[in-house]
Amino acid sequence: MGPAQSFTPIAPRPAPIQTDGLLPWIRANLFGNWQTTTGTLILGGLLLWLLPQVISWTLLRAVWVPNAEACRVDGAGACWGVITEKYRLIIFGRYPFEEQWRPLIATALLLALLVASCARPFWKSWLVLLWAGVLAIFFTIMFGGVLGLSRVETDRWGGLPLTILLASLSIAMAFPIALVVALGRRSGLPAIRSVCTIYVELIRGVPLISVLFMASFMFPLFMPQGFSIDVLIRVLVGITVFAAAYMAEVIRGGLQAIPKGQVEAAATLGLSYWQTQRKIVLPQALAMVVPGIMNGFISTFKDTSLVTIVSLYELTGAMGLALNSDADWRPFKIEGYLFIAMIYFTFCFSMSRYSHWVEKQVNKSKQR
């Protein structure tokens, strides 16, 4: 036996560098190397210089009371008083002032339904009936003429209720049309395929504004003598036709991604064309294109602002209407625009967050 070996432990290894926590994060993400550090210093400096000015203008020096004189004082910041003064005109447009509780209730109802439709427990077939019911109530309250409510013609409707109505109705009507057109473009019947293709390409080739011009100038000519259609419905049809063409392309993208084997397997099982589409193809295709469909919803919501140009006073138009006629408040239009921009942002941003959530829900089967 050799000499007894004595046990000498090796020197302890240094503790690993801490990689989580605030300080290491800052080191890695803001001061990682010299380029990052320079970027941080320049951008951070700019932000430190700009942010206080922005905060001071929007909050600290802002005037909140509806007093146009106070807003004109030198050094006054944002004049939010214009909102306090005009918010009912901006939000409800030309709807009769004393009756504005009606659009308030109707919109609240419609919004509640919209939010409810986004939650899983409501994804049942009776949701369609609920929609029909709520829309009936919406139009009854808004239109009046019954139950002792005075009649308010649609040309007096305006503001946020009109925006939400136009957006939700045109989305709801465009979706089924888009489904049919998307299936039609992939149909084996040449006549149907070409009709759908022409429709989609024609509409996608022109701007929405020309479709709206058509709805407002040419639609009356299309109708038989002595038969006139309300401008609201004409515009609604215009937006729907437009949105459906874009949505059809999104859905077609999903349909194309379904492997042929799926359809062939369905045919082997003896399913008919419509059974195949409804039970095999569409559930997979639609799940795949959820982000695209939600993007379509968001852009339709934003597109409703264009009806201002054909003189329907939705949110953007109502805002112009509220301030253009009033010389006292007209200089503070930028605050008004910021206010409605915030409303649009809230709606669109929550829709895009919701779309992320839905995407996760429908792709649950693919997650491991």
């Binding site: 993400n29 380029q35 970027g39 022109v206 000519l221 003598q225 649009y344 942002f345």
Partner: protein, 391 residues
């Protein structure tokens, strides 16, 4: 046992798929034909009853209105078709400039979302979320308000070096025409030829020896040097026509109207948010292994981007990018809301003056349809070049 022949297929039977298909198609075409006939008939009747004249003959009669800005002079006595032509050039001007600017800004912001710097990432994300969630019309109106109300009057403009910014728009110096500029242009053309030749030689050398050499910076340097040489040969003309403060307005120099600036800025900033998302998803679509493989092969970071990542990302990027370009062009029609005389705005005036809605709207649609078609054809050609080459 004898085999029986299968029952003969009946051609005309509801059980035959071909027959059913034929019936469906005939039904659909008839229904659509009837609907179109119904609408056309109503339109014709209505127009007769209301005494609306139709036809495109009005295009040759005098327009009778002035146009705020145009690339070439126009007065109200000229024909409608000339007015429409000015509208088209104005639309194209804003669309082409917008597409170039939006590609640059959008790409920078899209790449910025991958930055190592958290501040850059955060700012890029904020930009995208803010600008794409506010309607373009509202943004255009806000820019227009900014340019027409919040800027100082043109009697006391903001002076930014050689630039004058005021309610009257942006005034900037333009070089005064001299023959030296022609020399410079000639130099540039010669440089391009030289650069092309150099690049071909570099590619040949690479294929022969496997040694990469610069295929971007060297040709670029050749072009710039040749341009400069031409300019120097031509006597290096430096004279500029700078704007200066006049009594009532800013005189001399080139100018851009507030309408044009609002439309251009609004469209660029809005579309850049979408382009940034397109670029981001394109870059994300390239698997990380590709970058790792590229660096394992010894490519440097620039080569890795240019030779490996970009060609693959472009395949994903081009189709949605085309859509964004088309969207920008179509959104330029919103210029009507702030009075920039694009084709829609001119058609709108023409409708109000002549009452020929059908004709004017068809002109708008024709213009946009042909622009869209041309852009898609161009981008499809580019896409086919960038597409995966399969055996």
């Amino acid at each position: 046992m004898t085999r029986q022949a299968p029952p003969r297929k009946k051609k005309i039977s509801w059980r035959s798929q071909a027959f059913r298909g034929l019936v469906y198609q005939i039904l659909a075409v008839t229904a659509i034909g009837l609907a179109i006939w119904f609408l056309a008939h109503n339109t014709a009747t209505n127009m007769r009853l209301r005494g609306i004249q139709s036809g495109f003959d009005f295009l040759t009669s005098a327009a009778g209105f002035d146009i705020g800005e145009s690339l070439y002079p126009f007065d109200s006595g000229e024909a409608y078709w000339r007015a429409f032509l000015i509208g088209v050039t104005n639309t194209l001007r804003v669309a082409v400039l917008g597409i170039i600017l939006t590609t640059v800004i959008g790409t920078l912001i899209g790449v910025g979302r991958f930055s190592r710097n958290a501040l850059v990432r955060g700012l890029c994300t904020t930009y995208i979320e803010v600008f794409r969630n506010i309607p373009i019309l509202l943004q255009l109106l806000m820019w227009y308000l900014l340019f027409t109300e919040l800027l100082p009057a043109s009697t006391e403009p903001m002076v930014l070096g050689p630039l004058f910014l005021s309610k009257g728009g942006l005034n900037f110096p333009i070089p005064i025409w001299a023959s030296g500029h022609l020399w410079a242009a000639g130099g540039l053309v010669a440089g391009m030829g030289l650069a092309w030749w150099q690049r071909r030689r570099a590619i040949q050398a690479f294929e022969r020896t496997g040694l990469p050499s610069s295929m971007f910076w060297k040709p670029l340097a050749i072009v710039v040097a040749a341009g400069l040489a031409g300019w120097l040969l031509g006597g290096a003309p430096l004279a500029l026509d700078s704007p200066k403060q006049g009594e009532f307005a800013i005189e001399n120099g080139g100018s851009l109207t507030p309408e044009f600036l609002s439309v251009l800025l609004g469209l660029t900033i809005y579309t850049a948010a979408f382009v940034a998302e397109v670029v981001r998803s394109g870059i994300q679509s390239v698997p990380r292994g590709q970058a790792e493989a590229a660096s394992a092969l010894g490519l440097n970071q620039a080569q890795e981007m240019r030779l490996v990542m970009l060609p693959q990302a472009l395949r994903v990027i081009i189709p949605p990018m085309t859509n964004q370009y088309l969207n920008l062009t179509k959104n330029s029609s919103l210029a009507v809301a702030i009075g920039y005389p694009d084709v829609v705005s001119i058609a709108n005036t023409a409708i109000n003056q002549t009452g020929r809605a059908v004709e004017c709207i068809s002109v708008i649609m024709l213009v946009y349809l042909s622009t869209s078609l041309a852009t898609s054809l161009l981008m499809n050609w580019y896409n086919a070049r960038a597409a995966i080459k399969e055996r």
